[in-house]
Amino acid sequence: MKKLMFGNESIALAALHSGVTLGIGYPGTPSTEILEYFSEFGGRAQWSPNEKVALEVGIGVAFTGGSVLVTMKHVGLNVASDPLFTVAYTGVEGSLVIISADDPDMHSSQNEQDNRNYARSAGVMMLEPCDSQECYDFFLEAVRLSKEWKFPVLLRPTTRVCHSMSIVEYEDKEYIPVLPIKYNPDKLGRVMIPGYARPAHRRLREKLAKIKKWNETSHLNKEITKSEELGIITSGVSYLHVLEAEPNASVLKIGMCYPFPEEKVREFVQRHKRCIVIEEGDPFLVENCRYYGIPVEEKPEMYRFGELNVNRVRRILKGDTSPEPPIKRGRPPRLCDGCPHRAVFTLLSKTNCIVTGDIGCYTLSVLPPFQSIDSCVCMGASITVGLGLRHSLPPEEAKRVVSVIGDSTFIHSGIPGIVEMVYNPPPTGHIVIVLDNNTTAMTGMQEHPGTGKKLNHEPTNQVVIEDVARAIGVENVVVTDRISVFEKALEESLENNKTNLIVVRKMCALLRKKQQKNVKQEVIGDKSDVSTGGS
């Protein structure tokens, strides 16, 4: 079979063909569509409240011998890093493939961290696909490697790989999920008390040494031999830019960047007069070369920022460090017409509040005409950073601080912040405003536990935000869909020195539209653009 597919689509298809027992994750651009496709194709897919939970459930399935796909965007791996570092010690029984979809140039992210660094620091194999065909092939290979070594594998596509289409050749297969039947205990291997973890760490390093040896001759690393004058070492989508920018160079494409295929690279470098590493983001391959004493040229620092492309690769090869023409980014996104967040921010921008914000559509309220939020760090930080401000500012200043958070973000990592607020209340109390639009709008309208619907929109148990807050012990809880009620509740809360939570509940305008006409569109217009998301 031959099909034109997105990277995310081909990962989902490979998951289906390899018999993944469970696909699990938390939405985040550019990873979100993987699980949506997997579900559409007939696979079992679930959204978790956050990435740490997703990975841990995945570890459990993999402990039983199941085959697991866990998906997240790059910053999601920060949240899931705690289980990641230790599952490297315990290993798994079945297979565990974790997708870390990185976002160089921050098309819709708060940072452009390079998660290849996680592979090295956690000691987990990492594969880097360059296009949809490799997304398919590398996923299958990742499952195979995970099973063979009883070990997690990271697969790192980037935005340009996830959201680009190219032709994929594959053999159609029936979906036969791996279904374990009984639990085989392994206390020494899975109970990480120090006495068991010490040998586990040694086992990990021994395993990595063996995998490194395998990787030295693995088919994952591809070589194109041409000129002896110029050798280029590259990985991921940069490989494709390189092939176009310098068709005459020899190229070594690293498919598995960790454990690093040292001998393979050394041997390639020895055969070429000039050897340069062309990689997006951090100098990861370069640092590995340096560590092993392999002499290579690296890109100038200015190319660490943003994505690479053919033009930039040409510049790097020429050593051109003159200023680049600025990228035209066009018109910035803004809150939709009819977005229920608008009324809240119109009001907040009129008050004298200090607003600690969070991540979601509502972050856009930092732009004109609202310019109403004062901080945005990571998911969940609105509540906690707000508490910090309240703790340190003098009372008259502290009283102006309010935290604003979305419903999906509240569930993701807002709840521990509420616990903190109740446990260590600032003398002036605090105010948390939950903008509940009944969806994870920013990433393209995914369900979450607060919507009471599963990934495939079928009904399930609902987590009710105000009930959670009351149960934790928040003193004053208000729920409304009316801006006048909200205004009054805010006014009172600003003066009452209590812990307050105000839920403003009104459905996302796009979701309302989508539900109204849930039919296949007749003309190009609306659907395709609006059903996708960012961040």
């Binding site: 034109l4 651009t29 098309h107 819709s108 296009d131 935005t159 340009r160 959201h163 680009s164 289409m165 190219s166 032709i167 989508v237 494709l240 830019h241 092939l243 176009e244 492309n309 053919v310 033009n311 023409p325 035209k328 980014r329 066009g330 018109r331 910035p332 996104p333 803004r334 809150l335 939709c336 559509c361 856009l364 393209g444 796009l510 296949k520 569109q521 007749e522 003309v523 190009i524 217009g525 609306d526 659907k527 395709s528 653009d529 609006v530 059903s531 996708t532 998301g533 960012g534 961040s535």
Partner: protein, 177 residues
């Protein structure tokens, strides 16, 4: 007509103008015609009225999914305001295909409410522009029709065919020096 080894098409617009779906149709048509195809898009924030653009490249063999700056052959504009953002990506003499083909220099979308343009209207003019684009590309008519059939509602396929053919009759695209 002579074509370079790789044909580079940029589609530009804003959220809701159909950039993504239009580029799917172009990419599918080229794929159905037997070419190697790569398509890339940035739609991160599109639903919030931000700029959206998509690159489609096809030919014997395509490498990078991104069209290098200054190497675009065609720019299909689905929103007149996006010309400025995308123009620098065209090569000298690159061709711009936009709504002026249908309504003239005013580029006023609302003119499409006039019945004289039927079956073209404000919602489907993008299919019309694809029809105009098709005049320049070595992709058979049947491949376009099949791609439209695959990507859009089957119910109005005949209407869409009419809109596409309306576009095929428009020729006066403007080229940039």
């Amino acid at each position: 007509m002579s074509q370079p080894a790789v044909v580079n098409i940029i589609l530009g617009g804003i959220g809701g103008t159909g950039v993504i779906l239009s580029s799917n149709i172009v990419a599918d048509s080229a794929f159905l015609a037997g070419y190697d195809v790569r398509k890339s898009e940035i739609h991160g924030m599109s639903q919030r009225g931000g700029s959206v653009s998509s690159d489609v490249r096809f030919g014997e063999k395509v490498y990078s999914p991104l069209i290098p700056d200054g190497e675009g052959d065609y720019l299909v504009l689905l929103h007149p305001d996006e010309l400025e953002n995308n123009l620098y990506r065209l090569k000298p003499n690159g061709v711009v295909i936009d709504i002026s083909l249908i309504v003239g220099e005013s580029r006023n979308l609302s003119l499409l409410n006039d019945e004289k343009y039927l079956p073209v209207n404000q919602k489907n003019f993008n299919i019309c522009l694809l029809g105009a684009l098709s005049n320049y590309l070595p992709i058979p008519y049947e491949c376009w029709q099949k791609a439209i059939f695959l990507n859009l509602s089957k119910k109005v396929h005949e209407q869409n065919r009419g809109v596409f053919e309306y576009g095929m009759k428009l020729t006066k695209a403007f080229s940039i020096k």
